[in-house]
Symmetry: C2
Subunit: 342 residues, 2 copies
């Protein structure tokens, strides 16, 4: 029988509170994942397979998360990350803020061997199968060699965790031709063309991204962050406008009622429990940063995804792929100062 | 009585053909705008107030528009731009490709005095009032001083043509704090804070952009281009999914029928005739690049918007604002090589 995987979970920062995270942990534990749960013990119910570590201090709302993560080693997210760094757990799940989790992950778990920069990735709800956008905010600037590594990091995750056999990797740009884009993007395109062990499909534009022409789409953290927020904003505005149309008159109301079952399927595609998580790739262990609005079902799922990431050896896969492609960061290269800015 | 304004129009490149552009020109002329219409005379009907110049050569589909604009001076878009440069018309309207119009505009009409880089801007359909995004693709890279000029160019256009009194100007970034963004964005934010004659509201994220927190949103052409295509893609995908939901069952169909009148208002907000045009700002005269899918009503409107831009002296307003703010390009500064890449 395979050994059980342990996932470290920070219960602070979730909109529904630590109790909801604890309920999600209990569900995941019932399915066979061990959970090391950091948060206010008084607020969380015990469950089989869940080990609660009392860590009431939260930095999820800190205005300067990097500073907070350094100065408050007792904070729940820092303790959770440390448990991963020390091998007591195989992956990190955070129910709290992106900034705090990013900082704690970088400081405690640290970059994986050969990786220039960790990156945040998010699955975008595209009809059919989701698209992984990497980076969505860990690095506001990226050099071509960073983008190349993001491609391998995203592909290894898509393969290991999402179960996509030969993930098609695209590069986000303002045109499909190889000559389109910023100097960094054009350089990255050249390096990715014919890169070993990668199914590079070329540049992807905003319009085709949404059509799912690639499984993994690479970009810098500035563009990626603007992109996901724009998609979120556009979707919300449009759905609000439709809701308004369906309540503005009795005729509209009747139409809205009749349409409801058909539209509920659509709503599921944007369900935060399904698509609300960000994955922190490029550390020595996998990190998952949950959307603040998740319910217990979402936390359960996040913990189980983390478990799959450990079982499928996503970090080792990434190293192997980078190594085979000759895309590892040279040991002689000075380590970049990693300052999470989100 | 005020003198009539003449607008130069390129009829090539529209999806519905030159005849449709000519019909739009006739409608605008009937409302009091003189039109100098370049295109295949054989395909266009004459009308009062419209002077047709036979120019059958089209470079709207050229794969390298900049090269085509240089090597084919007889092309309709080049002739139309030249008529503006020579003062025979006050503004340029193109029914064709963005690349060809951008190239012809830059080569013939040339940059306005004191302007670093022309920029393309697009109005984004936001409930309430539209948001002007600048730049959406004329420059894939932008320096801080370019972004500052884009702010004044966009504000002058919003004021003069869209009739927004004191346009609120925002800077697209990956966070609202002044310290968030790429080095260029952070620098631009500093320069824009307290800039003379500008209502700077700070950084704008994708989510708040769609809520209309600013009337003009400044970004580089790479990010702006990715952004508008993402919004277009997301909107299309979502509306398609809803249409599918409303036709997947008889119950859904009935609901869709009842909802139709309420939704038609929403559709209007995305009507390409209303929001499909890009404005080329920063040249010695205003340029409008129409969406290929416009109908005659859309072309009429574009010509009338160009007329308003001339009447409201948008180019002079921009110069005055840049001058008052000390943000003009110094004459001693070497002129940047302008190479339109779209």
């Amino acid at each position: 029988m395979a050994e059980l995987v342990t996932v470290a979970v920070d219960a602070n920062g979730a909109d529904l509170g630590p109790a909801e995270v604890a309920r999600g942990a209990a569900l995941a534990a019932a399915n066979g994942t061990r959970v090391l749960l950091f948060g206010p013990a008084a607020e969380m119910e015990e469950a089989d397979g869940v080990e609660i570590v009392d860590a009431p201090v939260s930095i999820a709302k800190a205005s300067e998360p990097a500073k907070a993560a350094r100065s408050q080693p007792e904070a729940s997210i820092v303790q959770a990350a440390r448990s991963v760094a020390e091998g007591r757990a195989g992956a990190l799940v955070s129910g709290g803020s992106t900034g705090a989790a990013l900082a704690a992950g970088l400081f405690e778990i640290k970059r994986a061997r050969g990786v220039h920069r960790p990156a945040l990735t998010l699955t975008i709800p595209v009809p059919g199968r989701p698209v992984l956008l990497i980076d969505v905010g860990a690095n506001t600037e990226a050099r071509p060699e960073h983008l190349v590594q993001f491609a391998y990091m995203g592909a290894a995750f898509a393969q290991g965790v999402l179960g996509i056999d030969a993930p098609r990797v695209g590069l986000l740009s303002n045109g499909e031709e190889a000559t389109r884009g910023s100097a960094v993007v054009i350089d990255a395109h050249e390096r990715l063309t014919g890169a070993t062990g990668l199914e590079f499909v070329g540049n992807v534009e905003g319009t085709t991204l949404v059509e799912g022409v690639a499984d993994v789409v690479v970009t810098d953290g500035f563009t990626g962050n603007v992109a996901v927020k724009l998609m979120e904003g556009t979707t919300t505005a449009l759905l609000n406008a439709i809701r308004e149309a369906a309540t503005s008159s009795s005729r509209g109301k009747a139409g809205g009622l009749l349409l409801r079952p058909a539209l509920s399927e659509l709503r599921d595609a944007f369900d935060v429990d399904e698509v609300g998580n960000a994955y922190l790739l490029g550390l020595r262990s996998l990190g998952i940063i949950c959307h603040g609005r998740l319910t217990q079902r979402g936390f359960q799922r996040a913990i189980e995804v983390a478990e799959r990431g450990v079982r499928e050896r996503v970090v080792d896969r990434t190293y192997d792929a980078l190594s085979a492609a000759g895309a590892l960061r040279a040991v002689s290269e000075p380590a970049a100062t990693v300052t999470p800015d989100q």
